[in-house]
Symmetry: C2
Subunit: 634 residues, 2 copies
Amino acid sequence: MAAPTVTFQDYDIVATAQPGEVMLDVAHRSGVRIVSYCGGQGSCGQCEVIILEGAVKPKDPARWREEVTEDGRGRRVLACQSVITENITVEIPAHAQAEDLTIRDVETLTGELVDLSEFLPLAPLTRQFALQLPPPTHDDTLSDLDRLIHCLAADHEGLAPLTIDLSLLRQLPAALRENNFQVAIAVTDTGFTPKIAAVRPSRASEKSLGLAIDVGTSTVAVQLVDLQAGQPLAASMRRNGQISYGEDVISRIVWTQQHKDGLVQMHQAIQDTINEILSHLYAQHDVSPEEVIAVSMAGNATMISFLLNIDATPIRRTPHTPAASVLPVLEAQQLGLATHPQAAVFCHPAVSGFVGGDITAGILATRMPKSDQLCLLVDVGTNGEIVIGNQDWLMAASCSAGPGFEGVGIEAAMPATAGAITNLRYDDETDTVEYQTIQEQPPRGICGTGLVEMIASLAESQVIDRTGTINTDFPSKRVRQKDYEAEFVLLWPEETAIDEALSIRQHELDDLLRSKAAMLAGITVLLSRLGLQAEDIKRMYLAGAFGASLDVEKAVAIGLLPDIPRERIHVVGNSALAGAYLTLMSRQAREEAKAIVASLTYIDLSGDTNFMDEFVASDFIPHTDLSRFPSVNI
Amino acid sequence: MAAPTVTFQDYDIVATAQPGEVMLDVAHRSGVRIVSYCGGQGSCGQCEVIILEGAVKPKDPARWREEVTEDGRGRRVLACQSVITENITVEIPAHAQAEDLTIRDVETLTGELVDLSEFLPLAPLTRQFALQLPPPTHDDTLSDLDRLIHCLAADHEGLAPLTIDLSLLRQLPAALRENNFQVAIAVTDTGFTPKIAAVRPSRASEKSLGLAIDVGTSTVAVQLVDLQAGQPLAASMRRNGQISYGEDVISRIVWTQQHKDGLVQMHQAIQDTINEILSHLYAQHDVSPEEVIAVSMAGNATMISFLLNIDATPIRRTPHTPAASVLPVLEAQQLGLATHPQAAVFCHPAVSGFVGGDITAGILATRMPKSDQLCLLVDVGTNGEIVIGNQDWLMAASCSAGPGFEGVGIEAAMPATAGAITNLRYDDETDTVEYQTIQEQPPRGICGTGLVEMIASLAESQVIDRTGTINTDFPSKRVRQKDYEAEFVLLWPEETAIDEALSIRQHELDDLLRSKAAMLAGITVLLSRLGLQAEDIKRMYLAGAFGASLDVEKAVAIGLLPDIPRERIHVVGNSALAGAYLTLMSRQAREEAKAIVASLTYIDLSGDTNFMDEFVASDFIPHTDLSRFPSVNI
C-alpha cells in the first residue's frame, strides 16, 4: 500500500507521510510553516487546520477535538494531533500560518538610539583589509604569515601582533598563491590580541557585513549592517522557536533538564530561528553568508547559554550564577550561525542570571552610564527589568512580568511585523474600533503597542473596569461569551486578513494587567529602596516589547509607567538591539559594555514583602491609589 | 572458502588475510611490527621474512625474490611482495622486527644542555594550580569564570586577564559543582593572553607532566618531564614512520603531491610515531595521557608542516617559504597527540624552509646568542645544518648531508637504543672487533656514534683507503664480496642478537663519506664567506645523530669536523630536544626562541661553486689537503 499523502491546498505541495506521522510534522518537513507555541503538545491550539478531504486518526483521544466549519466545507482539527493514515487535503487558515518575516524599517526598531557619533573613530568587531602582498623572492623569504602581518602592520598602526587559528593557517599558503598574493583579510578584535579570521580573494564586489542580534525570550530581532559604512541596511524579527518548549526561561531550563539532549534541542531551536531570519534577510538583500563576518549578540544569560550550548541549570538554582559574565569572542561556526564560519561573535556581558546582556546592551545604548541626570530604564520583555542610575552608580532589578506584552498567550497578538495593529481606539458612541497597522497591511493581530492602547481605550470607555474585568452588561454586541468567559471583539472576521475575529478574552486581560503591575511595582519598590520618588527621575527610557510608536500617555494611563512629566519619557524600542549595533561597530562601545558589568549592582526584589504589596496595589488601572496618578483621568 | 590465515610464529598471533592483501599489511594490522623503510615498495629489502609452511603469490613479479634458507627450514621472501592466498606460517627474523623502543638515560640524549639555572624562575608552557574556590552565595553571585579568574589572580600576580575556549566553558559549571569548587586549573602561556586549558578535579595524586619532542626527519625523540619539578623523567626515541614515504624532506613533499590524501597520510605517520613512543613511555612510567598538559616541539619546517597538516609544497619550491615562522600555541587534539586534549603545543619557530625549529632550538640550547665568544653549531641530521655567531650576530647554512649517520640506508645501522653499538674498534693484528653497546645489551646494529668510530678504525688499520674504498686484498676473511660489491664483516652471526652478520658495504661507506664531506664543506665555505678560519672558532657544538658518547678525536680524524683544539669541541647530543625541554619549562626560553628567528641570517650555499669544490676535496679521510688536519695521523 502506498504511503498516504497530505495535499496542502493553496501551497501546491503534496507531501508523503511516514508511518504514524502527525500532520504538523509532515508540514514542517515540507516547508509549510504552521504556528505551534506548545511544540505539538496539543495545548496551545495554534495549529488548528481544516481538513477538506479524507480523515485522520487522533493521536491522543484526551486532546482530540474536531469541529465542522460553519460553511460545512471541512472539519477543524489540530495538526499536531492528527495522525495521517490515508490521503487527505487540508487548508491552513491564515491564523495558523506562521507569520511571514517582515523587513522592518530599521529606525522603528531602535529609534533614536543608533547614534554612532559618540563612538568615532569606528572600529567594527571585524575589519576587512584589502592587501597586495609582495610575493616571496630569493631575497625575501618571509613566511606567509609574517608576510601578511608585516604588510598589514605597515599600513595600520597598532594592528600587530596578530594571532591565527591552525585551521586558517592550513589554508593560508593556497589562499595567497591562488590569488597572486592579492587578498582581503578579516581581522577580529578579540578584546585581547587581534586574530586573523579570514583570508579571501580580494574582490571589489565583496561586501563586508555584520549582524546585530537581540536574542529575546519571545522574539528574536536581527539587524543587517554594512560594516564599512556603519550603516544599518535592514532588520527583521520573528518568534523565538524555543517558545515550543516553554514561555519563559525557567520553564525552558526545566525542559532541558527533563529531556535527553534537551540542551542540544534548545540550542537547535534558537539556531534555527536566527538562521531563518538570516535566510530571509540574505534573500532580500542579495547577501551571501560568507560576506557576513561579525555578529554582536544581546540576550539574557539563559538565552546566551542556550545559544552557546552551555548548561543553564545553575542559572535556575540559587544563587543563579551563569557560567561566564564576560564571554570570549567566539566564532559563528561554534554556534551554527549561517554566516562566514569564522565570523566573530561578541556577546554582551551579563551581570548575573537575572540581569543579562540584553540589559547591559540597553544601558549602553541609552548612555545612562555617561549621564549626569538620574535615569531609569524599563525593559518590558518576557522578564521585566528595571535599571536606575547615572554616571556614578547603576542598580538593576528584575520582576517576572510575563510575556503578555510580547503577545505570548494572547490569541489575537502577534509580533510587530506587517499587519500588526499598533494603534487602536474603541469609540463607544459609534461602537467602532479605529486602528493603524504596520506597513498599512490588512490587520492580522495586535502587537505590544496596540495592546497598551487597547487597555487604555477599553478602560476609558468603561468596557472594562479598573480591575480589568469586562463589563458583561456593556451595551455592544462586541462583548460576548466564549468558552464560558467574557471576550471583547476588536475586529470582526470580515475586517481581518485572517478571516477570523480578533478578540481579547478576560483571562488575557488579567495576564496583561499582571504584567504591567509587576513592572510598576518593580519601579516603585526599587525607587523606595533608594529613598527616591518617581519625580526624581529626569529621564525614563521605555524599551522592549513596544516599538517607538507607543503612545506614552497611554502607557501612563494604564499604570505601566509612573505618572511623571511626559517629556521625560522616551520610548526607545529595542534598546538591546541598539546596543548590539553599537558594539558591532565600535571598540569603545565593546569596552564600555564590559565596564557596565563591573559597575552595576543587582537588587533582588523576589523576597521583598513590599514588592508583593505593591504588586497587588498595582493590579488596577492605573493603581489602587489614584493620588499617585494625578494627571490620569480614566 | 574460508579466508586464508597467516600464523606469525613466536608471536602467538593467527591473522586472517583480506582478499589480495600482502603479508606486510596483515602484520601491521595484527600488531606484528615489521621494518619497512620504502613503505612496501619492494625496494629496501628490510621486510624479509621466512615462510615455514604454505606458499604466497608474488605481488609484482619484477620485484619478486625467493630464496631457500641455508638450513632448508623455509624460504626468504619480502613481506611487502607476498600476497596471501592460502594459510601460511611465517617467522620474522630479528633484523626485520621493528626495534623495541628503549627508555634512554636522559643525560645521554641531551648531555650538558639541560641546565635550567639560566632560566629561573621557571614558568612552564602550562602551569597547574590547585584552587579551593568559595562557592557562590546569595551575596556572592560572581559567574563561574569570574570566580575562577578572581581566585587565581588573587594568589598569582600577573595571571589575569585570562581567556577560555567555548568547549571548556561548556564544561565549567559541571566541573566546579561536581568537585565542590575544589579544582585544579591548567593555564597555558600562549605568548599573548594566557588561556585556561583545563579544569579538573583537584587530586593530590595527579601529576603535571610535559613532553619535549624532537621531530627529526629520520628519528623522533621524546622526553617526559615533570613540569612542577622541572625534572626530566625519561626519554625514548624511534624511527620516524614517514621514512616509508621517502628518506628526506624533498621526497616526502613530492610524495604528498603525488598521492591523493598524501598530506593526511604523512600527518598520520608522524602522529602514529609520536603516539607509539608516548604509549611506551606512559606504560613504563604509569602515566595517564590526561596528566600530560604541555608539549614543546622542535622540528624542521617540513616536519612541523606535516605534523600540523599544513601543505609543505611551498617549502619545496623556490624561494622555500613555510606557511608560518612563529606558530601560535596550539592544542594537542588539533595534532592528534595522545595527551590531554587541550594540552598546549609550542612549536620552535623556523627561520625558513631550510633553517627550522630544530636548529633554532639547538641555538637556544647551546646559548650561542648569549656568548661573547665565536661559536659554531654543527647539527648532523638527515639535512646537515651549520650555525655560526655570538651575542651580536647569527648566520646559518644548510648542506644536504643525507641520512647516513642517522643509519638510514645502512643495513647494519639502527637508532641509538638498547643493543646499538656506540664504540667500535677493529684490531688488525688479532683480526678482532671490540665494541660497546647501549645498556650492554647483545649487539643488534650500529648507531651514528659507532659509524664514526668504525670509519676511523677501518681507515687507521687500512681496511679502507683515504677515499673510503675497501681494500679487497686485505688479509682478513672479514673482507668479502656480496652481491657484486665488497663488504667488511664487523660481527659474525653468532656474535649478534639477531643471528645475522653485521657488515658494512662499499656503497654504504661511500654514502657516509659523502655525508661527512657535505658537513665539512659547509663549515669551510661558511667560515670562508665570513673571512674566518677554523681556528677562530672558540666553541664548537656537535649535535644531532651522535650521542654525547662520540669520541671527538675520531670525528676530527675522519674529517667530519675541522682540526681545532679538542677542548673547544662539545658533543652535545640532541640539541633540538634540549631546546624543546627548555621552552617547555621556561617563558624566558620561549621568548628567546622567538628572538633567535629575528636575528638569524640564512646563507644559501646551494649555488656556491666553492661549495662543490670543497665537497669534492672533503670526500676523503680526512681531506685531500692534509695540511688542514695537522694533528690527524691516519
